[in-house]
């Protein structure tokens, strides 16, 4: 069945104008259809879509706590098996709920092989509590707990946790990075993930207008630049087979990282020192020098 014309994520929610999360969720639900159960980690998505007694969810939905969406999904999976029912289970978590506090539950869920699609919508900080740095915040980003000042002109001093690689290293059947600005690629990956039995992990970049400090009308443009600059590469890894990792998109001509950094307030301070921009450009160039060979369109 094709449910692309139907809506399972209703409007009227309280997510910010320009937030990428509802775009991601709305389309994943359209692709999954009504035979779906969603479990959601605590975070913006949960808070802004389920203010009792209203809800944006037209599929069964459950929220339990911050760190356990993957464990709740595991329980639902066990119950479905006990009842002999076939239903898609989709877990949504932000980066805090996935790469930090929810990491253990996610690792357990993947190791046990539950039939769940876990979707990380990664806005690169704890946005719901007010832009605190997470394990997914990139090097050089200002947040309210990686502040920029005379003693620290950089902001976050550590790189982003490579969550997709970590989950792929569990030999999960399917791991992919995706970007809603590359819509066909995103759709293909969601469909593919849903067609595979076992644990699937989608790492989707999701811009946050308030945390990234960008114009709410520029969401898709900025997300596109994340991939066009090479900073957020799109790839998939099946069954932990890193040798056969597949980069699904490679820009014909990479844009300089400045183009992605410039429109975002969280990186403004980096432009005071050209070395910082150079460092980020170098990181990107090195990544592509190492992994570029895996581009297999």
């Amino acid at each position: 069945m094709n449910y692309e014309k139907e809506e399972f994520f209703a409007p009227g929610h309280g997510l910010c104008a320009g937030c990428a999360a509802p775009i991601i969720v709305r389309w994943i639900l359209k692709l999954a259809g009504p035979n779906t159960i969603v479990t959601n980690a605590t975070g913006c998505l949960e808070v802004a879509t389920t203010a009792y007694p209203r809800t944006s969810w037209r599929v069964p939905w459950i929220h339990v706590a911050f760190e356990n969406a993957a464990a709740v999904a595991s329980g639902i999976d066990a119950a479905l098996k006990a009842k002999g029912e076939k239903v898609n289970i989709i877990a949504f978590g932000g980066d805090g709920g996935t790469v930090d506090i929810g990491m253990q539950a996610l690792s357990g869920m993947v190791e046990r092989g539950h039939n769940v699609l876990y979707v990380l919508y990664d806005n690169e900080a704890y946005m719901n509590t007010g832009i605190q740095r997470s394990g997914a915040t990139p090097w050089g980003a200002w947040t309210t707990t990686s502040k920029v000042g005379s003693a620290n002109p950089i902001g976050k001093l550590r790189p982003k946790k490579p969550i997709a690689k970590i989950i792929a290293a569990h030999d999960a059947p399917y791991v992919a990075t995706a970007n809603p600005a590359f819509f066909n690629d995103f759709k293909k990956k969601v469909k593919k993930a849903l067609s595979i039995e076992g644990p699937k992990f989608l790492h989707v970049l999701s811009s946050c207008t308030t945390g990234w400090r960008h114009d709410p009308s520029k969401t898709i443009e900025i997300l596109r630049l994340a991939t066009e600059t090479g900073l957020f590469p799109l790839y998939e890894i099946e069954n932990g087979d890193f040798e056969n990792m597949r980069i699904t998109y490679k820009p014909k001509k990479f844009k300089p990282v400045e183009e992605y950094l410039k429109p975002q307030g969280r990186f403004r301070h980096l432009f005071k020192n050209p070395e910082y921009i150079k460092k980020l450009q170098k990181d990107v160039d090195e990544w592509w020098a190492k992994y570029g060979k895996y581009y297999r369109p």
Binding site: A51, P60, V72, S74, G75, A82
Partner: protein, 398 residues
Amino acid sequence: MKVMIRGNESIAYAFKLARVQVVPAYPITPSTLVPEKISELIANGEMKAEFVPVESEHSAMSAAIGASAKGVRVGTATASQGLALMHEVLFIASGMRLPIVMGIGNRALSAPINIWCDHQDMMSQRDTGWMQFYAESNQEGLDLGIMAFKIAEDERVLLPAMVGIDAFVLTHTVEPVELPEQKDVDDFLGEFVPHYVTLDPQNPATLGSFGFPEHFMEFKYGQWIAMERAKKVIDEVFEEFEERFGRKYMKVYPEFVEDAEIILVTMGSMTSTTREFVRRLREQGKKVGLVKLTVFRPFPKEELREILKNAKVVAVVERNISFGFGGAVYAELSSTFSRMKEKPKIVDFIVGLGGRDITFNTLNSVVEIAEKAMHEEVDEVNWIDVNKEAVLKAEGLL
């Protein structure tokens, strides 16, 4: 059928007989044998259930919530640190009104790390909105385990329940247990029907939504009402169980109390030792009675008031401590009597923490102080069988 089983097996057999469909569990001493036994029963084809070998107790309870919300019967087991790790999610299970049943191998909490019996683990969860039952024997562990499902799933209740079995004294001790027939348990429990909204794609619902101040208190009041209503449901279920299986349960189980001047209040396995001790005192003509508290949540205030009101001294013998006040049972019992004009003197005795044996000597010390309390003032909170001198020296007070 009479079987010789350990307390942990009582919990596992209760789950089997209740036809539990999902068991998410994580190993922890002394309750590890519960998931082991479940795994064995499933592997042998004796039990049909999904066992989820989760990576932590937090995830065990989270998975239990997910499965229960999908509309299946769920059981799990843990103890001590594991129960403490679950703390956050326990509130959510009860707040979402999911009738999950959990066996607890009552064990001390660190530090110092200790694997033996006391009731600190469950007592520390008393405000999480779970019903709490304490078993005296392996038979009680099994029976309460089965009954807990019927009580929890009643549509007047819909609250999760814990059944405590004392670490090692019960969990690892083999006792003869009357194992009911499957058919009889099926008749008693009936087929599992979730009397709550489940995760059903045919009828999509949002569970665990965001409650603003204008709604939050009504949810909490609902839990309060459910816990109050559980009191009657527990009585009904206990009565029906007695009719069907011949074993009597009461929230508050009194023995030798009619003319008793001193009544000892106990919980769990220490009750057996205390019963024999009290029986001997009775032979000596001492007017001492015993009350076993089987249900701690909901707290059976009404029964306790009725049974204890004529005693001169109530000695609360308990295996937990709330630092800065006293034992939890003492605190609750004292406030239970706060509105009564005529009331017994209630004295607290902290015993058997971290598996220290509760012997006749322990109970002798308790009764000595209780007898003294009939005529003079005694300490509110009395630590029994403790090397106080060593501690006072270490604290620089001696």
